[in-house]
């Protein structure tokens, strides 16, 4: 009977990690997850930066879900500075966020997770047996990216547009 399952580098995850499962008499005895993603110290080097610069920087915490980091930093700044945004800006932000949901969920479901559930190595190998499904998934992902581009300028790390514009016009 297999005693150990060791995965030194997990595939198709957002980031990096390793997984070790030790079995004993067919039962799980010990599980270890190692997230070895290197620290990058954002909270540290953000100190001393002007608030205008913050959303661009926090976006780089994760290129797969940058809007989440832009949005949370911008909301934290607004709360700290007691700024109320207009309903139009709120709606635009929601649109930007929805665009990221669409893109990121399509990525996660079809390209990262589905291959595991269907016993495949990747969406690319899946495409050999179910090309139409994979093409449809890629189309869905592209719709999210197109929306990200329209509202945010580009699909990965959408740069701050009108949705965060107060950061440009307010003087410190």
């Amino acid at each position: 009977m297999r005693q150990n399952i060791e995965v030194d580098a997990l595939a198709r995850v957002e980031g990096e990690g390793a997984l070790y499962i030790r079995l004993k008499d067919g039962e799980i005895n010990d599980i270890q997850v190692n997230i070895y993603e290197p620290p990058r110290f954002f909270e540290g080097f953000l100190q001393g930066r002007y608030y205008q610069e913050v959303p661009d920087i926090t976006a780089r915490i994760c290129g797969i879900c940058p809007v989440a980091y832009q949005m949370s930093s911008v909301q934290a700044l607004e709360a700290a500075l007691n700024i109320t945004i207009s309903p139009e800006v709120r709606a635009l932000r929601r649109l930007l966020y929805c665009a990221e949901y669409i893109e990121s969920h399509a990525l996660h479901i079809y390209m990262l997770q589905a291959p595991d559930l269907l016993g495949h190595d990747s969406a690319l190998s899946l495409a050999k047996v179910a090309p139409d499904v994979v093409r449809q998934a890629l189309r869905l992902k592209k719709i999210g990216n197109s929306l990200l581009r329209v509202v945010g300028g580009r699909s990965v790390l959408p740069w701050i547009t009108q949705t965060f514009r107060w950061t440009m016009s307010l003087s410190p």
């Binding site: 890629l138 990965v156 790390l157």
Partner: protein, 264 residues
């Protein structure tokens, strides 16, 4: 002839540049048909044994383990491409290079002693020979495609190196600096994005790194003369590509050379 083997690696990074490859929705399946994706953990768990013909390396070197791993990878890869501004300059996490990493660590972690990190975050080229550098935070996915296509066709990839300003002129964007007094690093920044930020009315913050041959110090002084708050110009250059030597020297020219800290 067997298909060329491509490997994609991640170091200290945000995943955005790898995602740019997966965002080639219209081209991805054709690309996967033209090359053998031999190692790309973000996309597939299938790992083919090396050596590999093309290696795309995302991220900077910021831990002792990464410094070792990049040496192993260099032995495995025939043509190594540094993918994105982290890999070409050290990235945003290279802001630690201007201060003490231990001082940053105590701000973020309760047990900084558990960390295994280097004092600096450095570009791939500081550790191994790099055959091609592809700038951008994130990279332009079509530039990635162009590089791979050029290698397959045995030609030099078309990667222009002019500044962002020229792209503004081409697309008819009114200069944000001249018209609105908005600080813009475009004159010193490498093309590749198509002048995205000025086209939406904001200044460039240099995410494609220094444009070869640009007037860095002159740009820095010009920016400083238009600042809205003290230190704005320094912060603009000490950012995503802040550890690139050209931006470093331009900041040194502004703060007097001896200082390392930006004027806060």
């Amino acid at each position: 002839m067997s298909k060329p083997k491509v490997a994609v690696y991640k170091f200290s990074s945000c995943d955005g540049c790898q995602l740019s490859i997966l965002n080639l929705e219209d081209e991805l399946l054709d690309l996967a048909g033209a090359v053998e994706i031999a190692f790309f953990l973000e996309a597939t768990r299938r790992v083919l044994p090396g050596p590999y013909d093309i290696g795309l390396v995302e991220g900077s070197i910021s831990t002792p383990h990464e410094a070792e791993r990049i040496q192993e990878i260099r032995h495995q890869v025939r043509f190594l491409i540094a993918l994105g501004t982290c890999a070409t300059s050290g990235g945003i996490q290279a802001l630690r290079n201007f201060t003490q990493v231990d001082d940053l660590a105590v701000i973020v972690y309760e047990h900084p002693d558990y960390l295994h990190v280097l004092d600096t975050s450095t570009p791939i080229s500081q550790h191994v020979k790099v055959d091609l550098e592809l700038w951008g935070c994130p990279v332009n996915k079509y530039q990635v495609l162009e590089c791979v296509a050029a290698l397959l066709q045995n030609r030099t990839p078309y990667l222009p190196t002019h500044s962002v300003c020229l792209d503004c002129k081409r697309r008819g964007t009114v200069c944000v600096m001249v018209a609105n007094g908005t600080l813009c690093l475009g004159p010193a920044t490498r093309t590749g994005c198509g002048a995205l930020c000025p086209a939406s009315g904001r200044g460039c913050y240099g995410c494609f790194g220094p444009a070869p041959g640009a007037e860095y110090a002159t740009t820095a002084h010009l920016l400083q003369s238009k600042e809205h708050y003290p230190g704005e110009a320094v912060h603009l250059m000490r950012n995503f590509a802040g550890y690139a030597p050209q931006f470093r020297e331009a900041v040194d020219a502004l703060v007097g050379g001896s200082e390392n800290e930006p004027a806060l």
